[in-house]
């Protein structure tokens, strides 16, 4: 299993292959298709992320000290973005996520293609990932 840093680099490299934003979006859309369906028990308002124009559900489970994320969205591009985050962060420990440098997002070249409301949605997803990590980290240390 790859490490968190390896997965981040892998995604950065994939996006770096394309100059054209349309190809970048196609890549995002491809990720949306690979996201496993979200368990129905997570598809309720508790797991909805606020601050997104489209609906995004994000859930997390802790297994053997590692966090696994599960997500879905009714919009394809949002779903692709959250799928990439799920891929990157699943399998990391809460501490790895909390200590991670989130500026890698800027290297993907997403933000320059997102309007402010949409960038807010992305920030809300990242924040939620950190919140889960923080919650699991606190639980473990109790």
């Amino acid at each position: 299993m790859s490490t968190l840093q390896e997965r981040i680099q892998e995604i950065i490299d994939q996006f770096a292959l394309f100059d054209d934003w349309m190809e970048k979006y196609s890549l995002i859309i491809d990720f949306s298709k690979k996201l496993p369906p979200l368990d129905e028990r997570y598809k309720n308002p508790t797991y909805l992320i606020h601050g997104c124009q489209s609906q995004v559900w994000l859930a997390a489970e802790l297994k053997d000290g590692k966090v696994y994320f599960f997500a879905d969205s009714d919009a394809v591009i949002t779903k692709g973005m959250v799928a990439i985050l799920v891929y990157i962060f699943s399998g990391a420990t809460p501490e790895e996520i909390l200590n991670n440098d989130f500026s890698f997002i800027d290297q993907l070249g997403w933000r320059e293609h997102l309007s402010p409301t949409r960038a807010n949605g992305l920030n809300a997803m990242l924040k939620q990932i950190k919140m889960y990590a923080l919650a699991f980290s606190t639980m473990k240390n109790k």
């Binding site: 934003w21 349309m22 979006y25 196609s26 859309i29 124009q53 489209s54 609906q55 009714d74 919009a75 394809v76 591009i77 949002t78 293609h113 309007s115 949409r118």
Partner: protein, 404 residues
């Protein structure tokens, strides 16, 4: 006829190598040279505060400000300049109205809204009605996008005081039968307020003919500056209504025990207004008057018809509201059953086509249309041409290829 050359933003975008097809005019329109120049001219040559000071700059500023009031009066065919109140926009006009007029009603009274309304014509009423024990009733609409007048009539009883509804739906573009509703309402002593935000640049508005009691609109949706709006009200009602905000020009005499208020229209214009914006707004009014004389209504109707014809190549699209271009102006909202409006809007934007996606500040209407995730909205203005529609169609085909 092309009005595009009057709008410097298009040349600017070309110079920046950004070709933007702007189809989000229902949100705000671009501004012509005349409006931009006028605002700059005012700040450069006349800037000062209005009404109170006796010096020359203030006198000229006051005259310019009041000139616009007269221009608005003539433009919407109001009887008196006292009936024209300047606000920050339609939303503030409706907040002013809801706060002030509902204070004249009693607990147990009711008012009527419709399923078409923009949040700005729902929430101010809702908040004030709750405070005052006034009931809100909601008139149903047809699938075509029109208020069901017969059903609206059934909602009325002896406690009904006011109906507030939109002139043109900001989601569907459908033109509502204001005159018919006003006639019926007045037979029962009921006031009618009209949200004209989406109508004002697209069809000639005559408040005397409509005979509505109130009419609200924004300058920025009719080629004027942002932060300027109008509330028209019949003088007899405005006289009865208490002020909405306090301080500045709206005051007559003040002691710490009591204050008396200035007369109309100043009673409703607290604080220093957007003077430069109001001065420049006059140019927007002149511009729209010229547009109407030059046949902008039929230009936009032709474009709308052309857009509907072009959209026919996508038979699976759900297009909301009537397709009769005689009964709607400037707006088309649609959805594709297998594409989220958000995805469509994002990808169109990447291809230089600016549209609006989402609920367009009318969530109850989205619900009524069964468009829970919102719609994609194209909205036209004078400077749009058939080639803008064709650009949109080409871009939309690419979006389909990516998403389906």
């Amino acid at each position: 006829m092309s009005w595009k050359k009057e709008f410097p933003i298009f040349d600017h975008l070309v110079q920046q190598h950004k070709s933007i097809v702007y189809l989000d005019n229902a949100a705000t329109t671009h501004k012509p040279f005349s409006v931009i120049e006028r605002e700059k001219w005012y700040y450069t040559e006349w800037n000062s505060n209005i009404h109170r000071a006796n010096h020359h700059l203030a006198q000229v500023s006051t005259e310019l400000f009041e000139d616009t009031r007269e221009a608005v009066r003539a433009f919407i065919h109001a009887n008196k300049r006292e009936e024209i109140i300047f606000t920050r926009g339609t939303t503030e006009s409706l907040n002013l109205l809801a706060t002030s007029v509902l204070s004249l009603f009693s607990p147990g009274d009711n008012i009527i809204l419709t399923w078409l309304e923009h949040h700005s014509n729902i929430v101010p009423w809702q908040v004030q009605a709750k405070l005052r024990g006034i009931e809100i009733r909601v008139a149903p609409i047809s699938d075509e996008g029109f208020v069901e007048v017969e059903q609206l009539k059934e909602l009325i009883d002896e406690k009904t005081r006011l109906i507030s509804l939109t002139h043109v739906s900001n989601v569907l573009g459908t033109v509502q039968p204001i005159q018919e509703i006003v006639q019926f309402a007045h037979q029962h002593g009921i006031l009618v307020a009209v949200d004209g935000a989406q109508a004002i640049a697209h069809l000639p508005v005559n408040v005397s003919e409509l005979d509505c009691d109130f009419y609200a609109f924004s300058a920025h949706k009719m080629y004027g500056p942002t932060g300027v709006g109008v509330l028209y009200g019949k003088e007899k009602w405005l006289e009865m209504m208490p002020p909405y905000q306090y301080g500045g020009e709206m005051i007559d005499k003040v002691s710490f025990e009591e204050t008396t208020y200035n007369e109309l229209p100043y009673k409703f214009e607290a604080g220093t207004p957007n003077i430069a914006g109001v001065v420049a707004f006059k140019e927007a009014i002149l511009f729209v008057q010229q547009l109407f004389e030059a046949g902008v209504v039929s230009h936009e109707e032709e474009l709308l018809t052309f857009a509907f014809e072009e959209l026919n190549q996508f038979p699976e699209l759900i297009i909301y509201g009537t397709r009769s271009t005689k009964k709607r102006t400037s707006v088309i909202s649609f959805n594709h059953p297998n594409m989220h409006a958000y995805d469509v809007g994002l990808l169109l934007d990447k291809m230089g086509v600016a549209v609006r996606t989402g609920h367009h500040c009318a969530q109850p209407l989205s619900k009524r249309l069964k468009a829970d995730t919102g719609t994609v909205r194209l909205s036209l203005a004078c400077y749009n041409e058939k080639e803008d529609i064709l650009h949109f169609v080409e871009a939309f085909k690419k979006v389909q290829n990516m998403l389906l």
